[in-house]
Symmetry: C2
DNA sequence: GTACGTTATGTAAATTTTTACATATACTAG
DNA sequence: CTAGTATATGTAAAAATTTACATAACGTAC
């Protein structure tokens, strides 16, 4: 099983979804920790089905093209549950912007500062979107956020990671932009 | 040009290095923002040389096998300098541990808490190593850390990113482990 | 009625990355 | 003297990911 397979099972353990829906989730809810294009999702669904982790049924629609709705099987749920507590082998972090920072001494400081200020804005924007979701969760899901057995708790946990990640990233970009412009 | 190519040029803009040295750097200094195996480094060096970004000379050694020492060319340096301030297209963040957190509601909370506490320890360990380097840099490189035109400033900038990343990641792991064990 | 956007599902090709295969020198520890 | 480790450089195969190709139904705006 691939990590992408577990990403898909993780989504299907919460609700039934089509390949199209899954692809959208990969760029939204799950987007800040895993992602995939539809060209990866469809073949992976076929593989998961061949191995008995999911099944599908065709849903005919009147106002839209028909779709295949996928559902996780007992086997799939068991595999997912087991995978969760298995230690993850550390994958290398790759970040092109930090790589640029490593060679920033070669660039014009003012031009470079612009680059990092723009990045700061992007991460602050994402942070604000996450903060809105957090506010919404705390209002609507209040009781569930303390229950480790609830999927809402898990959603909140990953959101917390997104919040921390964006906050820290934005602060670093601002610090670097300031330093490049000689602001102490 | 690939991002890996710029990663290599970024290292060669500071010092001449062999393919073997470059591979080690990819797992150390540059490790917390880019990495590559030697099977990627050697072919990439050949490509960079074919395109005129680097040159090499064979250095004969008595106590070790001979090596090819690579040097960046004027063309290479110009390309690197230009790349630094070009906006980086955002790549998706993929993190298996956060993906596991998304499905943590299916697992035994105590077992899951163990997983995240172990991860917290790993990130705290890395943080400590970075903090030691930071202390060393502040002592030894004090004058350079305020000069955006110095490679030491750039090294410090990337280290700052590593520090923030590990600190935030470790805190999140601890928070999640606590929450899983019902600690408010 | 036609151009565009959304929904919907796939395949093909290219690129990137990882894992495995392959070889060779020289030092050190047992 | 032999096994292991570090240095040193490559290639081959597999896996993962991205980009491009390809099609089709249906609704809306012009």
């Amino acid at each position: 099983m691939t990590t992408l397979g577990y990403a898909i099972l993780g989504l299907l353990s919460r609700e039934t979804l089509s390949g199209y829906d899954l692809t959208r989730r990969m760029g939204e809810q799950v987007g800040y920790f895993w992602s995939a294009r539809h060209s990866q999702v469809y073949p992976e669904l076929a593989r998961l089905e061949a191995e008995g982790y999911v099944t599908h049924s065709v849903v005919e629609q009147r106002e839209r093209p028909d779709k295949k709705v996928y559902e996780i099987t007992g086997t799939g749920l068991a595999a997912l549950r087991e995978w969760v507590t298995e230690p993850a082998r550390p994958r290398p972090t790759r970040d092109e912007l930090v790589l640029k920072a490593y060679s920033v001494w070669l660039a014009d400081p003012a031009e470079a500062a612009r680059l990092f200020r723009e990045a700061a804005s992007r991460h602050e924007g994402q942070l604000e979107r996450y903060e809105e979701i957090e506010g919404w969760m705390k209002r609507e899901w209040a009781e569930d956020l303390g229950r480790p057995g609830s999927p809402r708790f898990a959603s909140y946990a990953t959101l917390r990671r997104g919040l921390g990640y964006e906050r820290e990233y934005a602060a670093w970009c601002r610090w670097l932009a300031d330093a490049l412009e000689g602001i102490r």
